[in-house]
Each structure stands twice: as C-alpha cells, then as structure tokens.
Amino acid sequence: MLNYATKRAFIAILTLLVASLVVFAMLEIVPGDPARLMLGMNATEDAIHNLQEQMGLNQPLAIRYFSWLGGLLTGDLGRSYTYSVPVFDLIMERVAVSLPLAAISLALSTFIALPVGIFAASKRGKFSDTLAMGVAQVGVAIPNFWFALLLVYLFAVTLRLVPAGGFPGWGAGFGVSIKSLILPSIALALPQAAILARITRSALLEVLGEDYIRTARAKGLSRRQVLYRHALRNALIPVLTILGLQFAFLLAGTIIIENVFYLPGLGRLVFQAITQRDLIVVEGVVMLLIATLVLVNLLVDLSYAIVDPRLRGRS
C-alpha cells in the first residue's frame, strides 16, 4: 500500500511539473504586453520600456520560468503586474468568495440530490420515480448561466429580494455578503443536484441488486430497512467520489457564474488577469486549481485502494 501511495504521489508531482511548463508556455505566446496596456494610447515608447524593465519582462524566458518555479516551491507566487501586490494575497482575497460559494452550492446540491435520489430509487419504476428523474433530466440540460439569468430576472429585477450581482465584501457584514451569494449558489447547485440525484439513484439500484441485499431481504428485513441499513451506506461511496470531483469542479467552474453575478472570485480574477495580460496571476491561479484537482484525484485513488485492495496492483 505504501509503495502504491508513493508511486501515485510521485506521478501527481510529475503531473504538476508538466502542467507548470504547459501553463507557462501557453501564456508566453499570448499576444499583448501588460506594460503597454497599463500606459495606454498616449504612452511614449521609452516609458513603456521602463515599465517592462520594472516588471521584469525583459529577462530571458528560461530565467523567468525557473525563478517562477523556484518561487512556487517556496510558496511565493510572485507579484501581480497590474495590482503590484503579491499574487498569493490576491488569490486568498478571491478564495474568500469562491470557497464559500462552492461550499454552499455543494451543500445545497447534496441536500436536494440525496433525498431525491434515494426517494426515486425506493420508488423504482413508479410514477414518482419517473417524475423525479424527468425533472433531473431537465435539470442536467439547463445551462447554469441561463438559469442564473432567469433567477436574476425573477428575484432581483422583478421581486427585488436580492441584489442582481456584485459582492460587498465580508467586511460589509455577514448577512449582506451571504445574501449576494444566494442566487449564484442556487444557479450553480441545481444542475449539479440533477446530476447527483441521478447518480445516487443508479448507485443505490446497483447495490440493491447485489447478492447480500437479497440475503438481507431473505432474512426478513423490510425493504425500507434494507435500503437505509445496508444499501445506502455502500451506495454513498461512488456518490462521495463524485462530490469530491464536483467540489474541485465548482471551485474552477464558477467562472461563468461569477461573470453573470460579477462576483470577485477566483474565476473572475483569472478572466480579468488574462485580459490585462497579468500573466503571473493567471499562472498562479491555474496552478492552484490544477493542484487542487490533482490532489482530489490522488485522494480518491488512494481511498479506492484502501477500500479495494485489488486496485493496488494496477494503476
């Protein structure tokens, strides 16, 4: 097991290293110069040159890559070209929005999806099952940004219950801040919930078909008892795996929703940084997101291996 874990960890690190190279190379070919962008249309060429010098943009490529990589290893992500503050601080400010948003939507989607999935599985083939899965099918088909638009129209424009967008900052008070996260969370959570409900249902049904469940039924346990006492616990493993992946996805995948609601989250930071050619920020955020995903994948693999020793032989 230890051997297997070391090997997986090594592969994860290698993946990150390759990713850093790819990210760096990709951004190097992005046309546009941050110095020129900051100084605008009336800037003289020597002023632009001076600013490039200040930003360290005139150094050779390899030197910049290795100094960036060296920084990464010591936890220093460099300084933002545009904001001229450490990238790490900038990311932390945005994580303070993205993380709660992802967490709330994940919680919301779980609270909706698990009961619906279990309910549908327990009523397999009945009308209520068909209805629930039909609704879930529609939920999967709805683009979350369109759903967000409809929510804005209904709750912000028409009913004026919540703000249409923006984030006041946690300093403005917990209540106001949470209020501006309500619609985005719902918009993110519902399509996720639809997927999760379908997975919960099919995982449960698969488990319910196993031999030991039939044995339990034969022992005289009621359907209900079997469902909750035996089946649910086992079906939760694949569901939790999906949840883990969804969390990583939510953290990265909120770009569009953050754009709809103008939330100062990680996704918006990257989006802005790309348009401002603040490449060092883009590199930092992308590496952070990839690292999160790789880590989640690693944990999922390892937990599988713990549950199912047969997997350790293969990779």
């Binding site: 009336n42 002023a47 600013l51 703000p163 249409a164 923006g166 949470i178 909750y228 609601f261 930071l269």
Partner: protein
C-alpha cells in the same frame, strides 16, 4: 441509521432556512447616513497612482480628491489654480513662475513645498519615467526652485497648452517619501485621503481633516465597482449605490428619467468615437473609399442602436461642447447611393472584403455590428474580429495591423493625434501638421478658434477616419445629491463640493 439520517436532514434544512431569514433581517437594517456617499464605477483601477498608469479608472477615484497638481481642470473644462495659488508668465511666454500655497501637508504628515514640485515634474519626464502621458512634459526644459514656495519652469518653446497639461491627473504632485508606494496606498495633498481597498469590490476614501483649502462636505465616499449594467441598474434602484457618474446601461436610462427619486444628467465627454481606417493600406489609401464608407454609415441608427439614443453625432474630430466646434456632419451625411457612386469611382463597383477589429466596450461591439451591416449595403464585406484591449494596443495601435476599427478617443485636447507620425491611422497630411503647429504656438483665443475650425474642416474633407459620435456622460444620482459634475471634461469624479441636500 434511517432515523438519524432523516432527522439530520430535517435539522440542516431548518438551519439553512433560519440562516437565510437572519441574513435578510440584518441586511435591511443598514441605512446610509447623510455625510457619506456610495458611488458606482464600472472599471476597477489596476492601482491608484495616476502618475504611473493610463487607466481612466485611476483618475475617476483620485483626481482632485486625493491628488492635486499645480493647476486643475474645473467642471467646465477650464484651468483653475490648485497647489499653485498664482503664476506669472514671462514676455516671451517661455518662463512660468508658480507661487505655491503655504502650510500644505501630505496625508502622511510630511509638508509640501517647491522640492516636491521639482521632484514630481523631474520624475515624470526623467529617463526612468513610467508616466503614461510623458508627452505632457516634453515642452519643459528646466524646473528650478526659487524659494520653498516658488517654482520656476522654463520651457523649450512657447506652449499654449502648458497650464492645461499641468492640470492632468498624470501631472499631480507627489512626495518623494511616498512616490514608491502610491500604487497601493496613495498619499496626496487633496481634501480626501485614502482609507481602504477591497480588491474586486470597493475603494473607500475619507475626509482629510487637515486640508489646506476649503474642506470637503462629505465625511466618507465609497467607490463600488459594478461592471455589470444589469447590476448597476439594480444597485441604483435599491439604493445600495446613490450615484453612478458614468452609468453603463444606456437601455435602462429612461426608467430613471421617469423616476422622481433620481436625477439623470446627460452631459458630454471628450470621447470622440471614430471608425478608424488604415490610411496607408489599400483600398483605404484612396480618399474616395474612405468617403464612401463615411457616407454609408447612418449615424442616427448607429446612435439609436448601439447607444439607445445617447450620444451626439460628429462630423469631424472635435468635441461639440467646445466653443470652437462647428457641426460638419452634413459633409458626410448618410447617403448610400452617393457611397455606391464613390465606390465605383474608386474602382470598387462590387465592393471588397475587409476586416473590422473591435475592442471590448459596448459602443464598439454593438456599433461594429451595425456598421458592418450598413457597409454590406454598399458591397463591403467587413469581417468582425473582436479583440481585447491588450491585443488592440498591440495589433491595431502599435503594429497597425488592421483595416478598420472602432474606438473612442477620450483624452481631452487630442486633435493633434492626426498630426502624429506613426499614429495608427497612418494619416499623413502636411497641411494638417502645419495647422497643429500653428495652434500649439498660438495663445490668442480668436486666432486659435479660427485655426481649430480650419483643422476640423480639413479632417471632415479628408476622412482619415469616419467620425461617428461624441460619447455621452450618462450620470444618474439620487435627486438629493448636489455638486457632482454634469460633464466630463476629464475622466474624474471631483467630490470636493458634493453634498446631500436636506
């Protein structure tokens, strides 16, 4: 297990509902006091040092509020004294002697004197300068300290615009002690001082109790970043933001005009919006083609479609609110038949294929779609290529790798861009260059007006770019607010005289 799970879910639901209820109660309790103001801005500045960046968003926050220059620009575009209480000009017009205000202190407590003026001006024009408008200082030969409250600036040549140039945000006076950290923590001499910046959401400034001049009437002002037009509308309606000096959502303005709680002020800006053409690249090197394009564009439907009716049509490159302005829109009136005729005369009876590169603002993206459709009417197939600002500056502005583009030139007093060598229009007219040279050397008002009008006419005839409309300043604020600028002679939100009426 079953019971546990169920009751757990029930509890979580209850908690969630309670959480929402509490947050609703808390948020409705907050109310604005009468000496603070929340303003909406569309773009967040990259940093707050106006001497090291071109972003208008910097000036929108710091100009006149935090930083001051020797002179300043007033609400009507006039040059007023600021840190210099008075000045004299030598007979040959080349030497200015500025008398500075005394007892002026920077926000960090250090005192302001002639040393700071010399430092700021030399820094802006020096070898290491990263000033975005370094050209403003090009006329300066030397800056000398006569005494702590007197500065003498000697010019290389007469410059009719010198005092105006010294009023720009890029020419504000900074202290050597804080010049390096102004990006994050701006330290100026103005009536407000910097308080805090929550990146991505808002910037707060507060009253400077030790201000040397007439103190500000507000205690605190918050600039909230709201880039989304829909959110801007909602924020104003909800009262979260009480003023939006440049409101981004033209389509919802009528709604505010009908609402007595709000004041809607449609003013002008220095933004001449043009369809730029690459004058050296065929077929745009042919004046007939450029004229044909100008005649193919219906400015009215452009303004209605892209700007929802807000904006003043222009026929040359000059702001309509300027006293020397003449309306030349008739020179290139909408006339598709004439346009087709000109195309035929230019040797393109069947039109041609070309490209139209559009930067991000709404006026360009929406306007570009309309213009492309109108050009199709005279046979020109313009492929739309949206670009970001970074790409625009790189491809269009620097490398002149473009056919047509739409952009608003928002700098004040920028008629001379058509005289610059190597500018992205690639327009090269000795006659125009000569006119600009004369204007620069003329201080007399009447004479200047005459020259300005000649220059406008020349551009309207040559059509180095198709002149579209003047960008409006669409201000919306609470009807009880007084003192905000109606027009935008520069991109600034001067809050020194802003107050709440009772």
């Amino acid at each position: 297990m079953a019971k546990k799970l169920e009751s757990y879910w029930m509890k979580s639901w209850k908690l969630a509902i309670a959480g929402v209820a509490i947050s609703l109660v808390i948020s409705s309790a907050s109310y604005a006091a009468k000496t603070d103001l929340v303003l909406g801005i569309v773009l967040e500045p990259p940093h707050l040092d106006p001497t090291a960046g071109a972003a208008a968003a910097i000036d929108e926050i710091v100009y006149a509020n935090i930083f001051e220059g020797l002179t300043r620009i007033g609400a009507k575009g006039d040059v007023l004294p600021a840190l210099a209480e008075s000045w004299t000009q030598s007979d040959d017009g080349k030497v200015y002697t500025f008398k500075l205000h005394k007892d002026v202190k920077f926000h960090d407590g250090t005192s302001f004197d002639a040393d700071d003026v010399k430092f700021s001006l030399d820094r802006a024009r020096g070898d290491k300068s990263t000033n975005a408008q370094k050209g403003l200082f090009a006329a300066i030969d030397t800056v000398d300290i006569v005494d702590p409250l007197t500065v003498r600036v000697t010019l290389k040549r007469r410059s009719g615009d010198f005092l105006y140039n010294m009023a720009w945000g890029d020419a504000v006076i900074v202290a050597p002690e804080s010049a390096g950290t102004n990006k994050e923590k701006p330290v100026g001499t103005g009536p407000f001082k910097f308080d805090s910046w929550a990146k991505g959401s808002q910037i707060v400034i507060e009253k400077n109790a030790d201000y040397w001049g007439k103190p500000a009437l507000l205690d605190k002002a918050t600039f909230r970043v709201i880039p989304d037009p829909a959110a801007a509308t909602a924020a104003l309606l909800a009262g979260d933001v009480q003023a939006f000096p440049v409101f981004p959502s033209y389509e919802t303005i009528p709604q505010f005009q009908a609402d007595p709680r709000f004041k809607v002020v449609i003013g002008t800006t220095e933004g001449e919006t043009v369809l730029g053409m690459n004058n050296k690249k065929p077929p745009f090197d042919n004046p007939k083609v450029r004229q044909a394009i100008a005649h193919a564009i219906d400015r009215k439907s452009l303004i209605d479609g892209a700007m929802f009716g807000f904006g003043t049509p222009i026929g040359s490159f000059f702001p309509p609110h300027h006293p020397a302005y003449i309306d030349l829109t008739a020179e290139t009136a909408y006339d598709p038949e004439l346009a087709k005729k000109l195309m035929a005369e230019a040797g393109h009876p069947d039109g041609f294929k070309t490209t139209l590169k559009l930067p991000p603002p709404t006026y360009a993206r929406r306007g570009g779609e309309i213009i492309a459709a109108e050009l199709r009417e005279i046979g020109i197939e313009a492929e739309i290529i949206p670009v970001e600002w970074a790409q625009w500056l790189d491809q269009v502005f620097k490398n002149k790798d473009y056919d047509m583009t739409i952009v608003s030139h928002t700098e004040p007093n920028d008629l001379n861009i058509f005289s610059r060598d190597d500018y992205y229009f690639n327009y090269d007219s000795p006659a125009f260059k000569d006119l600009i040279k004369q204007i620069d050397a003329t201080s007399d008002g009447v004479e200047r007006t005459g020259l300005y009008q000649q220059a406008q006419k020349l551009l309207a005839k040559d059509v180095p770019a198709a002149f579209l409309f003047q960008l409006p300043k669409t201000g919306i604020w609470d009807a009880k607010i007084d003192g905000l600028w109606e027009n935008g002679p520069i991109q600034a939100n001067d809050l020194t005289a802003v107050k709440w009426l009772d």
